[in-house]
Symmetry: C2
Subunit: 149 residues, 2 copies
Protein backbone atom coordinates (compact mmCIF):
# COMPACT_ATOMS: atom_id res chain seq x y z
CA UNK A 1 0.00 0.00 0.00
CA UNK A 2 1.15 3.48 -0.86
CA UNK A 3 2.63 5.24 2.09
CA UNK A 4 0.20 8.18 1.73
CA UNK A 5 -2.64 5.71 2.09
CA UNK A 6 -1.40 4.49 5.44
CA UNK A 7 -1.86 7.84 7.15
CA UNK A 8 -5.26 8.29 5.54
CA UNK A 9 -6.24 4.80 6.64
CA UNK A 10 -5.24 5.71 10.17
CA UNK A 11 -7.21 8.94 9.99
CA UNK A 12 -10.31 7.08 8.82
CA UNK A 13 -9.98 4.49 11.55
CA UNK A 14 -9.22 7.08 14.20
CA UNK A 15 -12.62 8.59 13.43
CA UNK A 16 -14.34 5.25 13.91
CA UNK A 17 -14.83 4.33 10.25
CA UNK A 18 -13.66 1.34 8.32
CA UNK A 19 -11.09 1.43 5.56
CA UNK A 20 -13.01 -0.54 2.94
CA UNK A 21 -11.98 -1.65 -0.52
CA UNK A 22 -14.35 0.95 -1.98
CA UNK A 23 -12.70 3.76 -0.06
CA UNK A 24 -9.28 2.58 -1.21
CA UNK A 25 -10.31 2.44 -4.87
CA UNK A 26 -11.92 5.88 -4.73
CA UNK A 27 -8.87 7.25 -2.98
CA UNK A 28 -6.66 5.83 -5.72
CA UNK A 29 -8.71 7.65 -8.35
CA UNK A 30 -8.39 10.90 -6.44
CA UNK A 31 -4.62 10.44 -6.36
CA UNK A 32 -4.45 9.49 -10.03
CA UNK A 33 -6.66 12.31 -11.21
CA UNK A 34 -4.83 15.09 -9.47
CA UNK A 35 -7.54 17.50 -10.61
CA UNK A 36 -11.01 18.37 -9.44
CA UNK A 37 -13.50 15.61 -10.01
CA UNK A 38 -17.26 15.51 -9.73
CA UNK A 39 -19.01 12.60 -8.06
CA UNK A 40 -20.17 11.38 -11.45
CA UNK A 41 -16.65 11.48 -12.87
CA UNK A 42 -15.38 9.44 -9.96
CA UNK A 43 -18.29 7.05 -10.36
CA UNK A 44 -17.52 6.50 -14.03
CA UNK A 45 -13.97 5.51 -13.07
CA UNK A 46 -14.93 3.07 -10.32
CA UNK A 47 -18.25 1.60 -11.40
CA UNK A 48 -16.59 -1.36 -13.11
CA UNK A 49 -15.50 -2.40 -9.61
CA UNK A 50 -19.18 -2.71 -8.72
CA UNK A 51 -19.16 0.47 -6.69
CA UNK A 52 -22.43 2.38 -6.62
CA UNK A 53 -22.96 6.09 -7.06
CA UNK A 54 -24.37 6.33 -3.53
CA UNK A 55 -21.14 4.94 -2.16
CA UNK A 56 -19.20 7.58 -4.06
CA UNK A 57 -21.33 10.32 -2.54
CA UNK A 58 -21.15 8.81 0.93
CA UNK A 59 -17.41 8.48 0.64
CA UNK A 60 -16.98 12.05 -0.57
CA UNK A 61 -19.03 13.31 2.35
CA UNK A 62 -17.03 11.25 4.80
CA UNK A 63 -13.72 12.32 3.29
CA UNK A 64 -14.83 15.95 3.41
CA UNK A 65 -15.90 15.64 7.04
CA UNK A 66 -12.61 14.22 8.22
CA UNK A 67 -10.63 16.59 6.03
CA UNK A 68 -9.09 14.33 3.41
CA UNK A 69 -10.66 16.21 0.54
CA UNK A 70 -12.06 19.64 -0.08
CA UNK A 71 -15.39 20.25 -1.76
CA UNK A 72 -15.72 23.22 -4.06
CA UNK A 73 -18.91 24.43 -5.68
CA UNK A 74 -18.81 25.75 -9.21
CA UNK A 75 -22.08 26.74 -10.87
CA UNK A 76 -23.94 24.58 -8.43
CA UNK A 77 -21.91 21.42 -9.02
CA UNK A 78 -19.64 19.89 -6.40
CA UNK A 79 -16.06 19.16 -7.28
CA UNK A 80 -13.74 17.29 -4.98
CA UNK A 81 -10.00 17.55 -4.62
CA UNK A 82 -7.45 15.98 -2.30
CA UNK A 83 -6.33 18.30 0.44
CA UNK A 84 -3.23 16.21 0.96
CA UNK A 85 -1.52 17.37 4.06
CA UNK A 86 -1.73 21.06 3.45
CA UNK A 87 -4.77 22.36 5.25
CA UNK A 88 -4.32 25.92 4.13
CA UNK A 89 -7.28 28.20 4.73
CA UNK A 90 -7.27 29.57 1.22
CA UNK A 91 -8.24 28.07 -2.08
CA UNK A 92 -7.91 29.92 -5.33
CA UNK A 93 -9.52 28.47 -8.40
CA UNK A 94 -9.83 29.77 -11.90
CA UNK A 95 -12.59 28.82 -14.27
CA UNK A 96 -12.34 29.40 -17.99
CA UNK A 97 -15.74 30.40 -19.27
CA UNK A 98 -14.90 29.06 -22.69
CA UNK A 99 -13.50 25.57 -22.12
CA UNK A 100 -14.96 25.26 -18.61
CA UNK A 101 -11.71 23.91 -17.24
CA UNK A 102 -10.93 24.61 -13.62
CA UNK A 103 -7.39 25.47 -12.70
CA UNK A 104 -5.87 25.52 -9.23
CA UNK A 105 -3.93 28.69 -8.61
CA UNK A 106 -1.04 27.78 -6.42
CA UNK A 107 1.15 30.76 -5.87
CA UNK A 108 2.38 31.26 -2.37
CA UNK A 109 3.36 34.91 -2.73
CA UNK A 110 -0.14 35.78 -3.89
CA UNK A 111 -1.66 33.57 -1.22
CA UNK A 112 0.10 35.40 1.56
CA UNK A 113 -1.24 38.69 0.28
CA UNK A 114 -4.74 37.29 0.11
CA UNK A 115 -4.49 36.06 3.67
CA UNK A 116 -3.40 39.52 4.78
CA UNK A 117 -6.35 41.07 2.99
CA UNK A 118 -8.71 38.61 4.61
CA UNK A 119 -7.35 39.56 7.99
CA UNK A 120 -7.96 43.19 7.10
CA UNK A 121 -11.57 42.44 6.19
CA UNK A 122 -12.03 40.43 9.36
CA UNK A 123 -10.92 43.38 11.44
CA UNK A 124 -12.90 45.97 9.51
CA UNK A 125 -16.13 44.02 9.42
CA UNK A 126 -15.83 42.26 12.77
CA UNK A 127 -15.82 38.82 11.22
CA UNK A 128 -13.86 35.75 12.19
CA UNK A 129 -12.64 34.41 8.89
CA UNK A 130 -11.69 30.74 8.97
CA UNK A 131 -11.67 29.85 5.33
CA UNK A 132 -11.66 31.60 1.98
CA UNK A 133 -12.68 30.35 -1.42
CA UNK A 134 -11.71 32.46 -4.33
CA UNK A 135 -13.19 31.77 -7.72
CA UNK A 136 -11.71 33.66 -10.61
CA UNK A 137 -13.50 33.63 -13.94
CA UNK A 138 -12.08 34.47 -17.31
CA UNK A 139 -10.16 33.10 -20.24
CA UNK A 140 -7.35 30.61 -19.83
CA UNK A 141 -4.10 30.88 -21.74
CA UNK A 142 -5.10 28.28 -24.27
CA UNK A 143 -8.51 29.77 -25.03
CA UNK A 144 -7.19 33.29 -25.38
CA UNK A 145 -4.64 31.92 -27.84
CA UNK A 146 -7.42 30.29 -29.85
CA UNK A 147 -9.22 33.60 -29.95
CA UNK A 148 -6.33 35.20 -31.79
CA UNK A 149 -6.46 32.73 -34.65
Amino acid sequence: MKKEFLSIKKLIEKNGYKFTIQKRIILEELFNADIHLTAKEIYSKVKNNNIGLATVYRTMNLFTTIGIIKEIHVDGISYYELKMYSKKPLHIHFKCYKCNSIIDVDNSSVEIKYLKLNREIGENEKLQIHDANIMLIGLCDKCSEDKKL
Copy 2:
Protein backbone atom coordinates in the same frame (compact mmCIF):
# COMPACT_ATOMS: atom_id res chain seq x y z
CA MET B 1 -43.28 53.71 -11.15
CA LYS B 2 -40.04 54.02 -9.26
CA LYS B 3 -37.41 55.81 -11.25
CA GLU B 4 -34.96 52.89 -10.93
CA PHE B 5 -37.57 50.70 -12.58
CA LEU B 6 -37.73 52.90 -15.65
CA SER B 7 -34.13 52.27 -16.63
CA ILE B 8 -34.51 48.56 -15.94
CA LYS B 9 -37.68 48.52 -18.02
CA LYS B 10 -35.77 50.12 -20.86
CA LEU B 11 -32.94 47.62 -20.51
CA ILE B 12 -35.40 44.71 -20.66
CA GLU B 13 -37.14 46.15 -23.71
CA LYS B 14 -33.85 47.03 -25.41
CA ASN B 15 -33.02 43.34 -25.27
CA GLY B 16 -36.28 42.39 -26.93
CA TYR B 17 -38.20 41.24 -23.87
CA LYS B 18 -41.44 42.47 -22.42
CA PHE B 19 -41.77 44.23 -19.10
CA THR B 20 -44.57 42.18 -17.61
CA ILE B 21 -46.43 42.52 -14.32
CA GLN B 22 -44.60 39.43 -13.03
CA LYS B 23 -41.21 40.95 -13.76
CA ARG B 24 -42.24 44.16 -12.02
CA ILE B 25 -43.45 42.34 -8.90
CA ILE B 26 -40.31 40.20 -8.71
CA LEU B 27 -38.17 43.28 -9.21
CA GLU B 28 -39.98 45.01 -6.35
CA GLU B 29 -39.18 42.11 -4.05
CA LEU B 30 -35.53 42.27 -5.03
CA PHE B 31 -35.48 45.96 -4.18
CA ASN B 32 -37.34 45.46 -0.90
CA ALA B 33 -35.22 42.56 0.23
CA ASP B 34 -31.86 44.18 -0.29
CA ILE B 35 -30.20 40.89 0.56
CA HIS B 36 -29.46 37.69 -1.29
CA LEU B 37 -32.56 35.69 -2.04
CA THR B 38 -33.03 32.19 -3.34
CA ALA B 39 -35.58 31.44 -6.04
CA LYS B 40 -37.78 29.77 -3.44
CA GLU B 41 -37.64 32.77 -1.15
CA ILE B 42 -38.69 35.04 -3.97
CA TYR B 43 -41.41 32.60 -4.92
CA SER B 44 -42.81 32.58 -1.38
CA LYS B 45 -43.08 36.36 -1.53
CA VAL B 46 -44.81 36.54 -4.91
CA LYS B 47 -46.89 33.37 -5.15
CA ASN B 48 -49.97 35.09 -3.75
CA ASN B 49 -49.93 37.13 -6.95
CA ASN B 50 -50.41 33.89 -8.85
CA ILE B 51 -46.82 33.80 -10.05
CA GLY B 52 -45.36 30.35 -10.58
CA LEU B 53 -41.98 29.07 -9.48
CA ALA B 54 -41.00 28.52 -13.11
CA THR B 55 -41.59 32.18 -13.83
CA VAL B 56 -39.33 33.10 -10.93
CA TYR B 57 -36.56 30.93 -12.34
CA ARG B 58 -37.07 32.18 -15.87
CA THR B 59 -37.05 35.76 -14.66
CA MET B 60 -33.89 35.24 -12.60
CA ASN B 61 -32.16 33.74 -15.61
CA LEU B 62 -33.26 36.59 -17.84
CA PHE B 63 -32.23 39.21 -15.27
CA THR B 64 -28.86 37.51 -14.87
CA THR B 65 -28.33 37.40 -18.63
CA ILE B 66 -29.00 41.07 -19.16
CA GLY B 67 -27.06 42.00 -16.03
CA ILE B 68 -29.74 43.28 -13.67
CA ILE B 69 -28.88 40.76 -10.99
CA LYS B 70 -25.92 38.65 -10.03
CA GLU B 71 -26.17 34.97 -9.25
CA ILE B 72 -23.98 33.51 -6.55
CA HIS B 73 -23.67 29.86 -5.66
CA VAL B 74 -23.34 28.84 -2.05
CA ASP B 75 -23.32 25.16 -1.17
CA GLY B 76 -24.99 24.35 -4.44
CA ILE B 77 -27.86 26.79 -4.06
CA SER B 78 -28.28 29.89 -6.19
CA TYR B 79 -28.75 33.24 -4.52
CA TYR B 80 -29.64 36.35 -6.45
CA GLU B 81 -28.87 39.95 -5.69
CA LEU B 82 -29.46 43.20 -7.52
CA LYS B 83 -26.37 44.48 -9.27
CA MET B 84 -27.88 47.94 -9.42
CA TYR B 85 -25.78 49.99 -11.72
CA SER B 86 -22.38 49.00 -10.38
CA LYS B 87 -21.03 46.26 -12.57
CA LYS B 88 -17.88 45.79 -10.59
CA PRO B 89 -15.84 42.69 -11.39
CA LEU B 90 -15.47 41.65 -7.79
CA HIS B 91 -17.89 40.24 -5.32
CA ILE B 92 -16.96 39.48 -1.75
CA HIS B 93 -19.36 37.50 0.37
CA PHE B 94 -19.08 36.16 3.85
CA LYS B 95 -20.97 33.17 5.10
CA CYS B 96 -21.37 32.46 8.78
CA TYR B 97 -21.16 28.72 9.30
CA LYS B 98 -23.26 28.98 12.42
CA CYS B 99 -26.28 31.09 11.47
CA ASN B 100 -25.80 30.56 7.71
CA SER B 101 -26.34 34.22 6.99
CA ILE B 102 -24.62 35.66 3.97
CA ILE B 103 -23.13 39.10 4.26
CA ASP B 104 -21.99 41.35 1.45
CA VAL B 105 -18.54 42.76 2.09
CA ASP B 106 -18.50 46.20 0.59
CA ASN B 107 -15.27 47.89 1.36
CA SER B 108 -13.69 49.76 -1.47
CA SER B 109 -10.18 49.98 -0.04
CA VAL B 110 -10.06 46.21 0.31
CA GLU B 111 -11.65 45.76 -3.09
CA ILE B 112 -8.96 47.74 -4.81
CA LYS B 113 -6.30 45.57 -3.22
CA TYR B 114 -8.11 42.45 -4.31
CA LEU B 115 -8.30 43.72 -7.87
CA LYS B 116 -4.56 44.39 -7.82
CA LEU B 117 -3.92 40.88 -6.59
CA ASN B 118 -6.11 39.43 -9.28
CA ARG B 119 -4.14 41.34 -11.87
CA GLU B 120 -0.98 39.89 -10.36
CA ILE B 121 -2.37 36.37 -10.65
CA GLY B 122 -3.49 37.02 -14.20
CA GLU B 123 0.02 38.02 -15.18
CA ASN B 124 1.75 35.21 -13.30
CA GLU B 125 -0.50 32.46 -14.52
CA LYS B 126 -1.26 33.84 -17.98
CA LEU B 127 -4.96 34.12 -17.33
CA GLN B 128 -7.40 36.79 -18.42
CA ILE B 129 -9.42 37.42 -15.30
CA HIS B 130 -12.80 39.00 -15.96
CA ASP B 131 -14.62 38.36 -12.74
CA ALA B 132 -13.84 37.28 -9.21
CA ASN B 133 -16.06 35.76 -6.59
CA ILE B 134 -14.70 35.62 -3.10
CA MET B 135 -16.46 33.56 -0.50
CA LEU B 136 -15.25 33.96 3.03
CA ILE B 137 -16.39 31.50 5.66
CA GLY B 138 -16.31 31.93 9.39
CA LEU B 139 -18.19 33.35 12.34
CA CYS B 140 -20.13 36.59 12.12
CA ASP B 141 -20.00 39.21 14.84
CA LYS B 142 -23.28 38.14 16.36
CA CYS B 143 -22.45 34.44 16.48
CA SER B 144 -19.02 34.97 17.97
CA GLU B 145 -20.66 37.09 20.67
CA ASP B 146 -23.09 34.27 21.40
CA LYS B 147 -20.15 31.93 21.78
CA LYS B 148 -18.76 33.97 24.62
CA LEU B 149 -21.90 33.64 26.74
